[in-house]
Amino acid sequence: MRLQSVAELDVMRASVVAARSPRRQEIIVSTDSTCCVLRGSLGVAEAFQTGISEAGLREGTGLRLTGCLGFCEIEPMVVILPQKILYQRVTPGDVKEIIQKTLKEGVVVERLLYKDPQTGEAIQDIEKVPFYQKQMRLVLGPNERIEPSRIEDYIADGGYSALAKALSGMTPEGVIQEVTRSGIRGRGGAGYPTGKKWETTRTADSEDGVRYVICNADEGDPGAYMDRAVLEANPHAVLEGMVIGSFAIGSHEGFIYVRTEYPLAVDRLKKAIAQAEDLGLAGRNILGSGHDFSIRIVRGAGAFVCGESTALMASLEGKVGRPRAKYVHTSEKGYHERPTNLNNVETWANIPLIINRGADWFAGIGTERSKGTKIFSLVGKINNTGLVEVPMGISLRDIVFTIGGGIPKGKRFKAVQTGGPSGGCIPESLLDLKVDYDELTKAGSMMGSGGMIVMDEDTCMVDVARYFLAFLKDESCGKCVPCREGIKQMLAILERICHGEGREEDIDTLEQIGSYQVDTSLCALGQTAANPVLSTIRYFRSEYETHIRDRYCPAGVCKALFRYRIDPETCNGCMACVKQCPSKAIEGERKKPHIIHQETCIVCGICHDTCRFGAIGKVHTSEVAV
């Protein structure tokens, strides 16, 4: 079936909604997302499918297998409607009990309820869970109402109505004006005003009038996966945004450039595009408006720099993905020298919201210069790992402690890293910082695509800086000298420090190279590459000094700068570490304290991982006889 007009879309929406039998209850299982699947969600879904029919509950019970619901820590999660009961870490074995007790008898299964990591209190209602309470889930919200491979679900949820509104009642200029007025800025990290970019692309000279629209789904920042979650759970929101964008810009061909590491997202998008084209929501003569727009998926090939717009376009053209200098913006001359508008997945997913609810509504959320919400992937040393969508201007403390539930195992918070390899580390003293584009930049970090990695006292900040530089050294395309050589030299210095050969002048040298790098590199990768180093020096200088002067890594990460020691008081002689030690460096008899022979110990840390009694500690090299 092909929808010929906006009215036909409305008719279809009404019929989809009407066809849904009024259900007594509904079960939502977060199934179809890479991490849910890893945690065994498919088994849970299957158990529900068979369980519901066996229990004779097919009438009146709906089962919805959705994409990512954000709370990755407790997946696979199950929500029972209308009571909104949240069950965490459900296994196929639990399903029978849920069906029997909750669905049939209306009793809550206490042991599967979510328990607050701070207070230990069990919470039944999903909306009362602190993780969800402070969030504002505009983009992620629909995920729980949609089965990702069903376009009907999206349409029933009001999907494609923004497109209908734009095509039937707005001019392209009007759409751009609305987007400009909303104040939305690029969600990929740099924060360029989206409306302005569209305007430039629309008005730029193109010899044959061809313009392109690209969705950047090359989510390369390690520790960031919100684009994957959006694509996997709600691909149509991105497509709708792109079609609206193409109409505003006057483009008839678009691309989605997806990381090759995300096979499920590629699969989802392929299906979604086919569905949208079948219904006439993409392709030729969209909704009978005369506007044509086709979308193609292109897979990346594992190069971080291809997230940069000019490198991405080079890669699209089938070339090696190296950036070029941007004297001329891609919105004037991009893919094949034509005006090209490139936006991030999250930006596109926000567009239907803006068109539907209006620029004023959107501009009412957030801070003065950063509007709307932002999705962060809250990961690392945090209790509630997951995807959180918060209004701009929320404090870091709220994200880490209220939504994130604090640090596991009662450890101390040390820093939060934002902005991926181009970002920086923000210390405890700045936890009340309001999260928006400008505040983060002021603190020496950046918004980036939205990775938020929490670090505790066991994280070594010198090692973190070294880690990011090692990453960037591999990913630097090598075209410009400051990036290629600067990163290499800084990395050499950091490695020296981590190996216990740091020199007094090293910190100054790092700062100097870093400042040159900012001024002279060709693209954003090089310009921001020094951020991890400069921000850790700025906030954790003493840690660098301890590494250099005392030859000690307080966090116990840099191998050369600490040793393992067994505390004879705590060790109960269980022999577990003796068996596991790969270098046979631990000597001991049953029920007698063991000792580590420092001369054969390779500091691999297996004993530390194995010991269940916390008897193996990390100490300064001088404290043990080697």
Partner: protein, 301 residues
């Protein structure tokens, strides 16, 4: 000035006629020194003459270097010694004696106009050498690559997708496959190879039966991914990026698998193993190694 200084020869020998050597020669020659410019290759200009653009202004490289080449060649104070190597340096400051071996080029450089007639007549190397296009159209691999290329419509833009599919089909990118892609898509081999070596997703070497990807994302890193990798390297006795001798395992690192809640994470043959610890590594590896033995046993029986 001492006597020794005043009796200095006043000639300079410069080794290497790249852009630096040329500029130094011109500066010295213009200051009145006699310059001997020694160059190993038959021509001067070095690397810069082979470049297209220069960083950071993207200026044309030849436009900068070629006036200097000409000036260098016709400067009365500069003596070019190309296709020559320094053999011996004796003496001390102001009084060096240098032996230079000038290789035979069988052409009188002072008379040659570079007309190219001799090259055309030469029976040994009459043409500029280009790599022979591979004899293809025969092998199984060629047919497989052809099918992949056809499925992408054979356009130049499809190169990366063709490489991706080929990498998947053969588990790596054999040289002959790269040549075939070059021939079929009409892209110089250097460019195909350049792309194949640039992107991380491609391997230019054969890989093992099981491919281990250790996630090195930030979330995994702060949860101890480095130690997991080290344990893998130790157990398999190979550094990351290599394949075990028995071709059973290839150990790779990956920047982020995007499943950070489960970190540290290891993917083997695309199956994810979350919340890894060093203590779990041996059993995990064994399960894959034994899995293979099982299938072998089944195949034998």
């Amino acid at each position: 000035m001492s006597d020794a200084a005043s009796t200095k020869t006043g000639a300079v020998l410069i080794v290497g006629a790249g852009i630096a050597g040329i500029q130094a020669s011109l500066d010295l020659a213009n200051s009145g020194f006699k310059v001997y410019l020694v160059e190993q290759s038959p021509t001067i200009g070095g690397t810069m003459a082979q470049l297209d653009k220069t960083f950071p202004t993207n200026d044309c490289s030849m436009c900068i270097v070629s006036p200097k080449l000409v000036e260098c060649a016709r400067h009365p104070n500069i003596e070019l010694l190309t296709f020559a190597e320094v053999e011996k340096v004796e003496g001390d400051a102001g009084h060096f004696t240098v032996s230079v071996r000038k290789k035979a080029r069988s052409v009188d450089g002072s008379k040659c106009t570079g007309c190219g007639v001799c090259q055309a007549a030469c029976p040994v190397r009459a043409t500029v050498r280009v790599p022979e296009p591979l004899e293809d159209g025969e092998g199984e691999r060629t047919r497989a690559v052809d099918a992949i290329i056809d499925s992408h419509g054979g356009s130049r833009e499809a190169m990366i997708m063709v490489l991706q599919d080929s990498n998947k089909a053969f588990n790596y990118l054999p040289e002959e496959v790269l040549h075939r892609i070059s021939t079929r898509l009409g892209i110089p081999y250097a460019e195909v190879y350049g792309a194949a070596s640039f992107y991380k997703a491609f391997s230019l070497e054969p890989r093992g039966t099981h491919i281990i990807q250790t996630c090195m994302g930030t979330a995994c890193h702060v949860r101890g991914a480095q130690r997991i990798l080290e344990e893998m390297e130790r157990r398999l006795d190979i550094p990351a990026g290599e394949t075990t001798k028995d071709r059973l395992f290839t150990l790779e690192t990956v920047n982020c698998l995007g499943a950070c809640a489960l970190g540290p994470i290891v993917a083997i043959d695309g199956e994810f193993h979350g919340s890894m610890t060093t203590a779990k590594v041996p059993a995990l590896l064994d399960s894959y190694a034994e899995g293979k033995n099982d299938s072998e046993r089944r195949a034998a029986s």
